[in-house]
Symmetry: D2
Amino acid sequence: LFFLQFQITYVEALGDLLNDLAEISNSRERASKLFQWLIHPIPSKSFFKDTWEKKPVLVQRQNINYYKGLFSTAEFDRILRQENIQYGVNLDVTSYTNGKRETHNPPGRALPFTVWDFYERGCSLRMLNPQAFSSTVWNVLSILQEQFGSMAGANVYLTPPGTQGFAPHYDDIEAFVIQLEGKKHWRVYDPRCPSSNFSQSEIGKPILEVVLEAGDLLYFPRGFIHQGDCLPDVHSLHLTVSSYQRNSWGDLLAKVVPAALEMAMEEDVEFRRGLPLDYLTYMGVQNSDKDDPRRVQFLSRINGLMKKLAAYAPVDAAVDQKAIDFFHDCLPPTLTAEELASSVHGAPSRWENGKAVDVGALMKSQTRIRLIRSGIARLCSDGEAVWLYYTADNSRVYHKEEPKSFEIKPEHTDATEFLIHAYPKFVTVGSLPCESAEDKVSLAGVLFEKGLIHTAEPL
Amino acid sequence: LFFLQFQITYVEALGDLLNDLAEISNSRERASKLFQWLIHPIPSKSFFKDTWEKKPVLVQRQNINYYKGLFSTAEFDRILRQENIQYGVNLDVTSYTNGKRETHNPPGRALPFTVWDFYERGCSLRMLNPQAFSSTVWNVLSILQEQFGSMAGANVYLTPPGTQGFAPHYDDIEAFVIQLEGKKHWRVYDPRCPSSNFSQSEIGKPILEVVLEAGDLLYFPRGFIHQGDCLPDVHSLHLTVSSYQRNSWGDLLAKVVPAALEMAMEEDVEFRRGLPLDYLTYMGVQNSDKDDPRRVQFLSRINGLMKKLAAYAPVDAAVDQKAIDFFHDCLPPTLTAEELASSVHGAPSRWENGKAVDVGALMKSQTRIRLIRSGIARLCSDGEAVWLYYTADNSRVYHKEEPKSFEIKPEHTDATEFLIHAYPKFVTVGSLPCESAEDKVSLAGVLFEKGLIHTAEPL
Amino acid sequence: LFFLQFQITYVEALGDLLNDLAEISNSRERASKLFQWLIHPIPSKSFFKDTWEKKPVLVQRQNINYYKGLFSTAEFDRILRQENIQYGVNLDVTSYTNGKRETHNPPGRALPFTVWDFYERGCSLRMLNPQAFSSTVWNVLSILQEQFGSMAGANVYLTPPGTQGFAPHYDDIEAFVIQLEGKKHWRVYDPRCPSSNFSQSEIGKPILEVVLEAGDLLYFPRGFIHQGDCLPDVHSLHLTVSSYQRNSWGDLLAKVVPAALEMAMEEDVEFRRGLPLDYLTYMGVQNSDKDDPRRVQFLSRINGLMKKLAAYAPVDAAVDQKAIDFFHDCLPPTLTAEELASSVHGAPSRWENGKAVDVGALMKSQTRIRLIRSGIARLCSDGEAVWLYYTADNSRVYHKEEPKSFEIKPEHTDATEFLIHAYPKFVTVGSLPCESAEDKVSLAGVLFEKGLIHTAEPL
Amino acid sequence: LFFLQFQITYVEALGDLLNDLAEISNSRERASKLFQWLIHPIPSKSFFKDTWEKKPVLVQRQNINYYKGLFSTAEFDRILRQENIQYGVNLDVTSYTNGKRETHNPPGRALPFTVWDFYERGCSLRMLNPQAFSSTVWNVLSILQEQFGSMAGANVYLTPPGTQGFAPHYDDIEAFVIQLEGKKHWRVYDPRCPSSNFSQSEIGKPILEVVLEAGDLLYFPRGFIHQGDCLPDVHSLHLTVSSYQRNSWGDLLAKVVPAALEMAMEEDVEFRRGLPLDYLTYMGVQNSDKDDPRRVQFLSRINGLMKKLAAYAPVDAAVDQKAIDFFHDCLPPTLTAEELASSVHGAPSRWENGKAVDVGALMKSQTRIRLIRSGIARLCSDGEAVWLYYTADNSRVYHKEEPKSFEIKPEHTDATEFLIHAYPKFVTVGSLPCESAEDKVSLAGVLFEKGLIHTAEPL
């Protein structure tokens, strides 16, 4: 059986946890700790071995405060009031009544006056990218994306008592349903063939049925059909964290395979060889029923070439293509106070008493530096030049910014790679493998100005 | 002579002034008062009669605090630190040395660390839309645009001592140079034929030369060439407020004239009459030197038709086209506390203690309403339907949002017009000229939800 | 009354006429003669004075051979067989039965096998640009366009006995209905307000009703509603020649007026003057009922400026814009044997006995040249350079080629204008007003290579 | 050694050959015979076994008339005179002098007057698609494309004595250089890495050097560097027939492989499995030097999946994608007199004596039909419907027409396939495997109207 029930005797408040995480020097460790908190008490290692991508799992904690501080309906109300929330862009108003799923978005801004009116009339509210409006959700997701190596997204769902907002359906992501307030009755069903929504009669009997309470967690992999509805007497607020969209071996192969073919055609004369003069007379759909030995031979040739293709696969270059996509998807990091203080953001240059002061602090040979986060930057090559891709200037709004990168000069390439691999260790500018002292200082300067490195001690 | 010098004995701080303005019920009066403050002690009336669009004027106040609170270099530094300022988008780094004008924008975010370094090296800094980052500038401009009936924009210029950031040039707007800190040496020259920048030798002798000090104002109309440079010992910070770009009679005629011609061709057979069979043999550039009576007759016919065109000019429709452009350009209003409280923003609907409370307050027949601002909404017709254009959902960033409008149902048209003309008076919902009580309440509801009206007392 | 009946005693066959026209040296005379033949026996002069653009006119000749040789159903059949006629592109299959107008075009090529099947089943056939397939129609139209100074187009209509192919409607061109075979019953009605098709009940009583027979002509101006149907016992074939589409004073003004405004704004400060500060409060549709003296003043100002606009109208430049459009619309000329022989087409350079012979014949000072046609080329200026537009490289298919032009060097401009105005006279190369003998020869060479001039004697 | 020299004692003139080919009922046989004539006396079979795509071959026939009638400079001159040949589109003027390759195309139409002038000044002339202007070249290529199962293209090259028009270079097609007039000195070199043009010093010593004379043939495969120049005393005219551009196994795989991956991701869970959480930390260019067992495992997994991919390859569908491209590239067939007579083109429907006659001839059950050409039509499926692609409505100008196809109704699919496979045999309409007699006749009617079938006897 794939769910667990137990009583937590003590739990750290989320605020304290995030403060503790900020003390952890290595951002990959931070990510790992935060994920462990998310699925506690299931050990991460066994989760990824037995459950991840395989089956749903339920954690019932009997501790309504477990996820406290992550998000709340009060925060929802504050966001409506203070931020420019647009119906259809940031907020969806939905209902699922008598088997009919409807969306009720009017045009324009979503203010409490109209939003709560919809809610009172039984509509569910889905906030589409709470990370753009809630600093805590942003912080949590920006840490988790480092654990997943794939974009971590989120939606918030607020459902009035006695209603359901969505039809049974499945998604193409790994889903962590985090119950924040109230209760929700969930049913999860076996995966089924693609279709957007399902009627109740199509989906069979649930393999898991439970009432999720605040502090509980429900995980299910892509493809599992699910639906949730509220009990008559209490609303429900939950946050669904998602990841691993288009992050399969097949998605990587979609980058590898065309590149492999291009390479094979350049290097292997067999791929450049002409097709048989008469192949159109025995191949193709209109000939597919023919019993022709030439068909067998043709198919076997294709088969042979496809197998040979593997030898030409530029896997690292294709992985970098995926990494570049991921970097574009990433949230920018939420820097800790210490990270801020020791990076360009905390540099002392400022305006004071009618002049600019403390301007021009420079990297020195003995200055100790490192990447500000493990996953903040990555070296990729386009075959001609080497580029450093980075996430630091991304927006909290998905893809609002173009992918960010700049060219790394040949004399800086080794040192950049060295710095990336040195993380989490600080290294001195003087130890960078560049030919000249000038090159070392100039590389450190560039990376510091872009906010990609910080120093062991404030400049 | 077109400048003035005098000593102000008392001046209200800008904060107090804005608080006082918030008390003024009619937004047009607010605008007028604020503009009077800007050009004080020149009376508005005489300014628009004698100076506006005609000649430069200088106000030297010997009161460095006159514009205090509007903007400061400290605010500039804060914005660099807290907002996402991008080189080339929100900030330009420029220099003008030995007759050579250069721009030094690197890519990416402008943080104090690099910005102050540019400044120390003698570069000028121009912040392009301070209204997006400074609430005070936003507030001031959003009020002034109602005075001008044309977009009010602004740039901030910070110049290091002993430098100049821009070549002599002229602009196509009315400019109000508001000196905020330090001093700047200004020279203004007679208007000249179009060209982007000028060399010192082309521009002749200045018609006005002055050292502007904090608290001073310099106004010059479009077309006047100007340049400003810093004294060796003190920096300069000024804000230039601009307006009346493409807001001339000619700009309106560009909307009127094609529409007039379309109408004339529909209604007047003379415009539909065919051209003479052989006109190509005596008209056109290759025949322009010909002394042919048919040319005289042809030109006279064109002349006659062009004069007749005036009779078909759909002036009101063309004005609305200009108004729609202006509404798109407008800053959204910065609402006062009272405006917020009595509009949809202050509606009591909220989340409290696990439920939505005070939901569904409704307009009643006796509820007293009016537009929240004089210039917030405008009725226009596209020939088939009537649309209400409005500025309330615009962005602080120029044209970031599409023009906003919605269709007004025929049963609501008269009442909407009534409401617009009633401003600044409040009228009861019951007094709206609609056929049914339901229509009255429904129109009031729509306008309230869009944030276009407020109520005399909070709902 | 606007129709005529008479008996022609003698008529020249079209072939002979075209041969005779080829003898006329001046292409404008040719055009005029051909048009006179078209409307014979109405004198051209009185036609353009009394009838053109004013009222329908009918010419019944009782001479079925009058238009013989222009086009025939046999030619129609030949074209279907030999040319790539596409349904929907070059040929429409239509019917109008019981008040219902239908189009029956299948996809693909129109071959006699399917086309005559449609015909037999009662469908009308409209060939859309017979000039692309019939050399005679091309020749006739390419001559007539010089008479009209506006594109001359044509459609062919073949209608089975006892049927009608089109609903009553009107067109926006001057129409010459040339009955070629059989008979057609025509009804023409007073002009009516725009609409594509009309029902029989809408159009009232015809102002002209006639059975057109082969050799007859029916002219009606734009806007006159018309319908034609076949008698039960005989088919009808007619060609409609059309001209003067978008060729009215209003169409020219659409080029003049925006250019005039642009010029006025540059030259006249009154057009650059700003609009009144508060004009949006009393102008526009929402204020159009207001009785405000400022409205009167505003409208009067607009009126004044519009009248003033006439003073800035760049009429010749606008005429050239129209001329450029016309040149793009033009059919290329069909050169006579003599024109061919004396132009670049007849230059003796050729391949013979394994080598290129008679290569490099050159213009000499005494060579006598002129434009190959009056309307073949036109000098226009874009304000910076002078361009020669020409029709010689146009396609027989409407707008298949881009507008053709090339820049005329400053040293060639006067000579080109001289040459244009000299037509129909031949002038020697030596007499061209260029500074150097080289320039004269080089200009003549360029124009000769482009096919725009021919020589008095073959080179 | 790869060239041959021999004396032909007798050769059929091309005109006679084409007449004889027209007698051959099966178009595939026609193609094969024509190709045999092209490479005579090398037997086709041994050519394709030993030479094709492998090495150059030379046929010296000492018979200057062997290719007579295919094309000539006289025909070239005629085309310049009669067709609208445009510089840069249909004709290139080139030179290669002192190692410098230049193109001299002026704008506009290429008339003998200017073309022969270029030639006399030592420029080479390349006509780019002679098949659009020469019926014989069109006929020959349209037959050969059936032999190749790939587009057959051609260029004509005319070179003045003692000159060279092109730098040494190689092409990506199989080339048959057909010497038509005069002589040309050819040098062929070993294939080399890609580059557009080569200097003389880069290419080494020729592997084949010969003076090609009229009647000779030189074949070389893609990639072989070549150059040709004229002897001092005689011009050269040759036609290069090309084929097999982008027609390799690799080009087919570019269609197969993405489709295979899509299918694998749908059907095989291994392809949908998520990537390892931490793969970005050991894969990618920045990690490619790492000695990490996880890299080995990752690469092996990719390797395994790529090999597995072969199992999902939809080869027939991909072949049809290639076939559709080929059909788009194809020249339309040049029908023989007999094919014309027995197809829709020869149907007796026509206009005669004032009426349409012999209209409506219909397919009957006993009518014997077959495809008009083996390669004229092909059944393809897009997964939802079955489409018949065909070449009959293509243009002689490359890709001037869109790909042509129409949907085949389910009740016609089997019969269409039956008809395609029956070729070259005629079958009766009654024998088509349709459910109803009506379906049989309707399918035959559709195919006849589209010109895709002909009848054993004229209808």
